[in-house]
Symmetry: C2
Subunit: 408 residues, 2 copies
């Protein structure tokens, strides 16, 4: 496959024009949108207006006049179609970790006669930390982490909740969410899906999966900015009975009534807690305009095309030097590809030094993400060219590339 073939693919790409919605620094091939999405145009101006006009001039009046009070709901409205949900099933706020705590506690309370929470060994560490923290707090919950292959067998009738991350953060393996949800339901368990590495990149279909709860991150493929708010999904069928463990005023049916007793909002808004982070949430609202009119299936098709192209080019150009550690079947792969190399840290740093930004996941992975809105097939081609050159020349093996940094 030559560069012209990649140009062809870009010409045929229905999402090609979306790249113009982003600020992309010159000289950079950005393959880390799975860690922090690129900056959409319009966000800087929007934040400036929020700070100078809404905060500086409007002051407290902006809760009404600038609609801060509806900000989480407005973002939910933009986000819901990207994950196959309705807006009143999505609550935007806090962080993914806090949101996960909330829905795990809610799901467990809905199955309070059961004590087991099943998850996967090698799930995203924070997900395991949060689950174990909840178990420790409640005292009567057992977290059972099993190998991926053992998940079906682990779904026994004592299981309250199945907690899984849709796409593995290291190797990019994608679960069959519908099948696993059905298997959980078959034993009476509820499901909590972590969509951090899926939403905004893949065909996420929470209604189609019949999912109960989910959480996601909006600073990766959703491009909401560093530390953008997390979000959660609560299927409509649980709106009457699911309760948040963190009863903050923004989840109250009438937040500004300052009533003495907590009355939860009627829909997923009941999972909001404190005052929304207006600056971060406004940035996210603006950023989501880049998805206007985009369907999850469009994103998925583009992600498959990009990762297929990458895998094929790596096989062609770098065979033997690195191993593709991600599934080769795009149906079971996310929008990212991991390459295995014995000195993956240095190789990652060398790529970054040449403008190919990905990241390292210990011990031996170079992880590259292919955000469908702004990565082109020619970017994939050019990145592999640089990778092949680094490997062929050994130029990755310089002392400066082995020096450790805090964040890798």
């Amino acid at each position: 496959m030559d560069r012209a073939a990649c140009v062809e693919r870009d010409l045929a790409d229905p999402l090609a024009d979306r790249r113009d919605a982003f600020v992309l620094p010159p000289g950079v091939l950005y393959l880390d949108g799975n860690s922090l999405g690129a900056l959409p145009h319009g966000v800087a101006a929007r934040l400036q207006a929020v700070v100078e006009q809404e905060w500086g001039n409007g002051l407290i009046r902006s809760w009404n006049d600038a609609g801060w009070v509806d900000l989480p709901a407005r973002v939910a409205q933009r986000l819901a179609p990207l994950v196959g949900a309705d807006a009143d099933e999505v609550a935007v706020g806090d962080s993914t970790s806090v949101d996960l705590f909330k829905v795990l506690a809610a799901a467990r309370t809905l199955r309070s006669d059961r004590r087991v929470l099943v998850t996967e060994q090698g799930n995203f560490p924070t997900d395991l930390y949060v689950a174990e923290g909840l178990a420790r707090l409640l005292g009567d919950v057992e977290v059972r982490s099993v190998a991926s292959a053992d998940l079906p067998a682990a779904l026994t009738p004592d299981v309250a909740v199945l907690l899984l991350t849709h796409v593995d953060y290291r190797n990019g393996r994608r679960h069959d969410a519908a099948a696993l949800t059905a298997a959980a339901h078959a034993v009476g368990a509820l499901t909590v899906w972590d969509l951090a590495h899926s939403a905004g990149a893949l065909d996420v279909d929470l209604h189609g999966w019949n999912a109960d709860f989910a959480v996601g991150c909006s600073y990766k493929y959703l491009n909401g900015g560093p530390g953008a708010p997390g979000w959660l999904y609560a299927a409509r069928r649980w709106h009457d009975t699911a309760s948040t463990p963190i009863q903050g005023w923004f989840g109250h049916a009438e937040p500004f009534a300052f009533g003495p007793g907590y009355v939860p909002a009627a829909d997923a808004r009941r999972f909001l807690a404190g005052t929304p982070h207006v600056l971060s949430t406004a940035a996210l609202e603006q950023a989501l305009h880049a998805f206007d009119g985009v369907k999850p299936s469009d994103l998925d098709a583009k992600a498959r095309s990009l990762t297929d192209t990458f895998v094929a080019l790596v096989d062609e150009r770098c065979g033997g030097e690195v191993e593709v550690a991600s599934p080769r079947d795009p149906a079971v792969r996310g929008a990212q590809v991991a390459l295995r190399h014995p000195r993956a840290y240095a190789l990652t740093q060398a790529l970054i030094g040449r403008g190919v930004i990905g990241d390292h996941r210990p011990p031996d992975l170079v992880r590259l993400g292919f955000a469908p809105l702004y990565v082109r097939h020619v970017d994939v081609y050019d990145a592999v060219e640089i990778l092949a050159d680094l490997l062929a020349t050994g130029a990755w093996d310089r002392p400066e590339f082995h020096r450790r940094r805090t964040v890798t």
Copy 2:
């Protein structure tokens, strides 16, 4: 007292120059810094740089290069001296509600042989909601809300935690935090102080009070912007044993090691959860520069002077028309004064219509806050002049001032 006397007081005010650190819209007397602090100069530029340079250009590299990874710790360092704490005892992140949930759960776990959480009737509603939510989740905790006067008697040996808000959000009554903390300790209970209406305005002295835990809000007197991150305090003596219920990766001893087991950070950082909201946290970091070199006792003295001036002027000019609903002794009053009026909502709207921005707290209070960094004694004078005029002429009683808005 005439206006010249207020000018005199401003001339003698050691914090007078701090007003220049803020953007204050023309034609506004802003007496709602207890609800949303004014915009400090420099915040807009800082956010612009974070968005355009750090996010847009630096992308994922900014975790290292722009020091995002240390942002919560840097803010803690600025905040700690304002509340009489050391930086490693303060964790900045999430919201006040979520932070309250965390420290309440931690305190309760440290006193797991006791089942009672004592708080005050009329405590800030969210504080009660959060406490009741935790009690419901744990099942074996009883929330006992008593009248202020009955607090000492309520401290019995079955009390695990005393949860109080230092300054009452409606009438501004200030608790004797040192005395109540000692009383709680005398029966073996721990204390959780909500400093939302204190930090940045009063002489908060967590070490001097011998406090165990505290939470605060940074969008009120700390001027961090709408929905700025919450913060919490955990006294050093609890660092080894206190555990957060929400074990997120940012509270891990080595967040970027992605290790399989949760190992809490050695200090209050263990209470952080998910990825920090970088935009909101950077705004707060910048905003706190307005406090450079300011001691909590300076803030307290200015707050007393402003509220004393206000009460004296209201007595002089509006006597009989409104009632001062806040304590008259500044030692037991926060930086805010509430006025009672049978049609307080309309009176608040009429004041806002004339540029005096305060807020209404149902059923019958007009609440006015006196942020010590930017409110002048002449502002107090001018505000009372407008209030007196509205009351004398009955101009507050127009239909448009009775119309209800979402946020009051």
